[in-house]
Symmetry: C2
Subunit: 389 residues, 2 copies
């Protein structure tokens, strides 16, 4: 009895559309075989979300084949057969003796495959920023007649403009993020530990919303007094107290697609400076949303935010957002002064207004959004409040 | 009001002991400054567990300074000041214009620092396997008179032998793993979704055990029928059914230290073949534990397991364990035939007997263990059962 395919988040045609876009870019760069290793790119091109990237693995996309071929540790091949849209013959498991072997590793199997399928004299694209110098050298040594060419983060740029199907999944993820934040507002109370509150919130993110479960847990940060100036500590064992401020960053995840959300909760009345910072950030958020539309640049969105926030007497040093999609951040465009990226419909961003001003003052609010035909859609239904509990 | 230091999991003396071991290895290799970037190594040397490794960051260890210096994105510096045992002046935040900047990145700030502190003509150690070819080239270009030398995974080898303090923390983590697995045995029932069960189990892993919270969530896998041949899928939206088999791998985490645990749950009576596989695996597990003691090699442990399992008519292709500690796997020794690593007291391993035999047959059991003065201590108090619910 063969294992059935997993429930697919997208139809085959959607994956072929994505592959066609990647192949067009390969043709433009005169690359005939592409070695994809960035996990988010694997998810994008095949639907694969299993966590096997702790060892070498690669998806080989060629111009001549409709479906790509995945090479992974044999132990993980079954998950790829189960999850990927491709035919099972397109998943190749490499043997266990390449694991924890100082002489050879999974990249040897990947290079063997390239040589086997006749790419030894081709131009082969790689995601060089993800390869160690040692591995890059191995490609050059073992395939000396091939031309190894950096594909950069071209796939991330292709991922930047979502299909309506992807947008639908991101909306589902956003509803889960909202449910998680609503649970936070219920459970953040004096004498509750940060860990116990996080347990409740994360359980909600997994149970999901509207009958759609969260399919993974990713970056979750709960930074409460006295560490509201920090941004990436998951939680501690401390107990909330009357007067505590709690900055939360979380996300809903569906099939790898991430919708992020930040809000700040105050146990009791927030201090005046936090209230003023909140007002400035919301003004900045609304100013940013007002200019975000097709034709505007990412830099213009950042400038609008900065100007509005500045009128309230604050500045934010870090960029105020970035492209978001599979596995959270896409390493492409940012809401950052001077970023020339021109907004297009169905680009999605995390308008991330976390502001860690100094050691005594930090605050978090954000929206995950989509550029529409003539403006912007924010996915969250949560009010833009500094929640007082 | 300056932010206080976080509750430290270890005293200053423990961190200085670890640093002394690293510095001794640096001296042996004639390295005067070491650039540490592996997140688990940062945790080991400073107590830092904040999740800022999504951008370049490095701990600089020099022979001449007692405390190391950490260079990170400015936004993340507060968390380092809060969590690291070092003086606050030892944390340097680099400016935001190095983020999402195609021309320069955080490694430029790290190299600037090395040049500033007079290491421009020194021998500088790096963890080369973690550096892209492009970044390694940047070190060589921007510090041309320095000698850049690969430190390999020498710190991981030093981490391999734990102090009694570290063992204490791993026992706390193991109690959390047990609590999580006990919760799994309670909630895996027909018609419950995998996601809802996972929510309960993960919430338990965060709430912790014996008044000690889980301080993070790491690898969690729940692979149930019909995908018991897969090993690294977190969970799905499917509902368990009468007759379902559920393979679970989870871990308790305390301050980065991970104790992993695998068990298999059957809803109703397991099939004969699964029962026979369970019996073989437990026999193998006990055979492995019987030979694991100081002076034996990792390879001998694997051979003992394989022989005992073979007598039951099964084989396991993948290695049957690996060194474990901070952030789960240590990339050093494995319970793998031929691994020459000689066991020493306070080495810790995940004796990982997950066995994905074919598409219809997979099974999971494991123990996290410590080598004692004359044998082995397993951390889990859970029986080695195929749990029937």
């Amino acid at each position: 009895m063969a294992m059935p395919k997993a429930t697919q988040a997208f139809p085959r045609q959607e994956f072929l559309r994505r592959l066609a876009a990647v192949k067009a870019e390969m043709e433009r760069r005169e690359i005939s075989a592409l070695v994809v290793i960035v996990p988010a790119n694997l998810t994008y091109l095949t639907g694969y979300t299993s966590k096997s990237g702790y060892v070498p693995q690669a998806l080989i996309v060629t111009l001549k084949d409709e479906e790509p071929t995945f090479i992974t540790r044999k132990m993980d091949a079954a998950a790829a057969i189960h999850q990927m849209f491709v035919d099972r013959t397109r998943v190749l498991g490499y043997p266990e003796d390449l694991i924890a072997n100082p002489a050879k590793d999974g990249y040897d199997a990947i290079i063997d495959h390239l040589l086997d399928v006749g790419c030894g004299q081709s131009t082969v694209g790689v995601e060089a920023q993800m390869l160690s110098g040692q591995t890059l050298e191995k490609f050059k040594t073992r395939a000396p007649a091939a031309k190894i060419k950096d594909f950069g983060n071209a796939i991330s740029w292709i991922r930047g403009i979502k299909s309506d199907l992807e947008i639908g999944v991101m909306r589902e993820a956003a509803a889960i993020a909202d449910a998680g934040m609503r649970r936070a507002i219920e459970v953040v109370r004096p004498s509750v530990t940060e860990a116990d509150a996080s347990a409740e919130i994360i359980a909600t993110l997994i149970r999901g919303a509207n009958g759609k479960a969260g399919t993974d847990i990713t970056g979750f940060y709960l930074c409460a007094s006295p560490r509201t100036s920090t941004c990436h500590i998951p939680w501690t064992e401390d107990r909330f107290q009357a007067g505590s401020q709690v900055n939360i960053e979380l996300a809903g995840v569906r099939y790898g697609y991430t919708s992020a959300l930040m809000r700040t909760i105050s146990i009791g009345k927030p201090s005046d400076v936090v209230r003023r910072l909140h007002d400035g950030e919301v003004a900045g958020l609304e100013a940013a949303l007002a200019v975000a539309k097709p034709g505007a640049t990412c830099g213009e969105v950042a400038s609008a935010f900065n100007t509005a926030l500045g009128k309230h007497g604050f500045t934010k040093e870090s960029r105020c957002g970035y492209a978001i999609g599979i596995d959270w951040t896409e390493p492409t465009s940012s809401f950052k002064v001077g970023d020339p990226t021109v907004l297009k419909p169905n680009m999605t961003f995390h308008l991330m207004l976390g502001n860690w001003v100094d050691e005594d003052l930090g605050y978090a609010i954000s929206e995950t959004l989509r550029i529409t035909e003539n403006g912007v859609e924010t996915f969250s239904a949560l009010p833009r409040e500094l929640f007082q509990v």
